[in-house]
Amino acid sequence: MKWNLSVDLLTVSFDGLKALDGLSFKIEQGKITALIGPNGAGKTTVFNVITGLLKPNEGEVYFKGQRITNLPPFKRARLGMARTFQLLRLFPQITVLENMLLAQHYSKGERLWAALTRSPSMLKEEEDNRKKALDSLEFVGLAEKANVLAEELSHGQRRLLEIARALATGADLLLLDEPTAGVYPEMRRKILGFLEEIRDQGRTIVFIDHRMETVFSIAEHVIVLAHGKKLAEGSPAAVRRNPKVKKAYLGKNEAARQL
């Protein structure tokens, strides 16, 4: 098996409260992995540690075989990881197309000198990236919104744009924090469809979700967290049968019933 990412004995404390408590797991290349667990289990905290927004008190993060524990977030992103956020982080006061363009890798135009001289290679790069961004918008069905401000999109469209933007970075690891939260069933199916297409391109996906139906429909591997520790891990069917998992969800009637 080929590992894309691994976290090793992560511990994160907030004012003495352990959000993560010696957590270790590995993510397999080219698979869809679901990260589930009750509220406060530490799911988003793990994403924050992996992407560098949060420094762990202890433990290490490895990405494609490289130790990245001390790298700042933008350097990790440049190594090929992209994420979306539970509470959506678009650039609201610029257009949808510009949001997409920000995901593109620029070698020239983001340099001051190229901007001042309007170098032909910079203009060419911008032109190419514009085409690519429009293609990506076409792919997710947001092409006609290209010149609209991102803040004017509906909630579902914003989710879609944030995922499309993460995809457009070309990252081979995608960390999606509740990619289908708060969207209509139709949009949810659409988003899940994209995730499977991305996986088929050989990219690796880790996603957090609360809806068991979502998790069991597309995840190939499930990691269950509770109180900052790994409670269980395995195929969706195995996790579903695991008595410890059932117990962790007890009291959360909805989730328990779905299990």
């Binding site: 933008f74 650039f91 001042l116 970075t169």
Partner: protein
């Protein structure tokens, strides 16, 4: 006639100040309240070089601008940790400090007595003392500023600045070095404000600390907000209107002591009105908060 040209020279200097502040506030989302401090540095550096060492304003101009840019770097670096209101307060503090130094370092700046007799720019041995000639000079520098900042904000690098403004964490998650971009905005903004200061010093030929009070920073900020956040035509319009408007008060026949107060009240009222009803400003593309 000379009076009108004089107003245009002043408007040109404010256009440079407003554009350079708009790069920080409107495009990069850094609420800077001490912008006039950079102009103050530029003005004093170039004036002192000319008065004490006899250095030509043509050399004083880049030196003054670079020193202002270095101050921008010095302030920008610690300010990277600050956001929003805290950054606004830190830059406000900078404005107070620079003003206090100009006022109290009497051996160097002559304090409140100011520096009289600052030499003018000259061209092939000919002193640029006519107002129309100075207007051409200021116009050239205003155009340079418009092209320089205009090209930055239109290029992909300008898009990164707006991304930093809209959501810094998301920009980092897309691989953007947001610290570097914020520092760049600080340095370029300070550099051009420094140029504006130099142009002011060698035009009026007298500077004292009272030209560089915190109220002046607020005036420039008002020009940015009024004309339009993240808009270059907006900054030009904002600077011109707010320089010309108070001059119009003179023709109402108000005594000059009252006119100065009315100007301040007018600015204050405009600031409040725009923040409530049109936070983007006249031609703006961004609203704060």
């Amino acid at each position: 006639m000379n009076y009108i040209l004089h107003i245009l020279v002043i408007a040109g200097i404010y256009i440079i100040l407003t554009l350079s502040l708009n790069l920080l506030v409107g495009y990069t989302g850094l609420p800077a309240l001490g912008h006039i401090a950079f102009a103050c540095i530029g003005a004093y550096v170039s004036a002192l070089l000319a008065l004490r060492l006899g250095i030509s304003p043509w050399l004083g101009l880049p030196i003054g601008a670079v020193v202002a840019g270095l101050l921008g770097l010095g302030v920008g670096y610690p300010s990277l940790r600050l956001k929003g209101d805290y950054l606004a307060l830190a830059t406000f503090g900078l404005g107070l400090i620079v003003y206090a130094v100009a006022k109290n370092w009497v051996e160097l700046t002559r304090g409140p007595m100011g520096l009289p007799g600052i030499p003018r720019f000259d061209l092939f041995g000919w002193q640029i003392s006519q107002v129309w000639a100075y207007l051409i000079l200021v116009t050239v520098f205003a155009l340079v500023t418009i092209v320089f900042i205009g090209r930055i904000v239109k290029a992909p690098i300008g898009r990164v600045l707006r991304a930093v403004r809209d959501d810094e964490i998301a920009a980092q998650a897309l691989g953007k070095d947001t610290r570097k971009h914020k520092l760049m905005a600080f340095v370029i903004g300070a550099f051009f404000a420094g140029i504006a200061g130099v142009l002011y010093a060698h035009y009026i030929t007298f500077i004292d600390p009272s030209s560089f009070t915190v109220m002046e920073s607020i005036t420039v900020l008002l020009m940015v907000i009024f004309g339009g956040m993240a808009s270059i035509p907006g900054s030009i319009l904002g600077a011109v209107i707010l320089v010309v408007l108070p001059e119009a008060l003179r023709f109402l026949g108000l005594p000059s002591s009252i006119a100065a107060q009315v100007r301040q009240m007018l600015y204050g009222a405009l600031l409040v009105i725009f923040m409530i009803w049109r936070p983007k400003g006249l031609l703006g593309k961004y609203r704060m908060g």
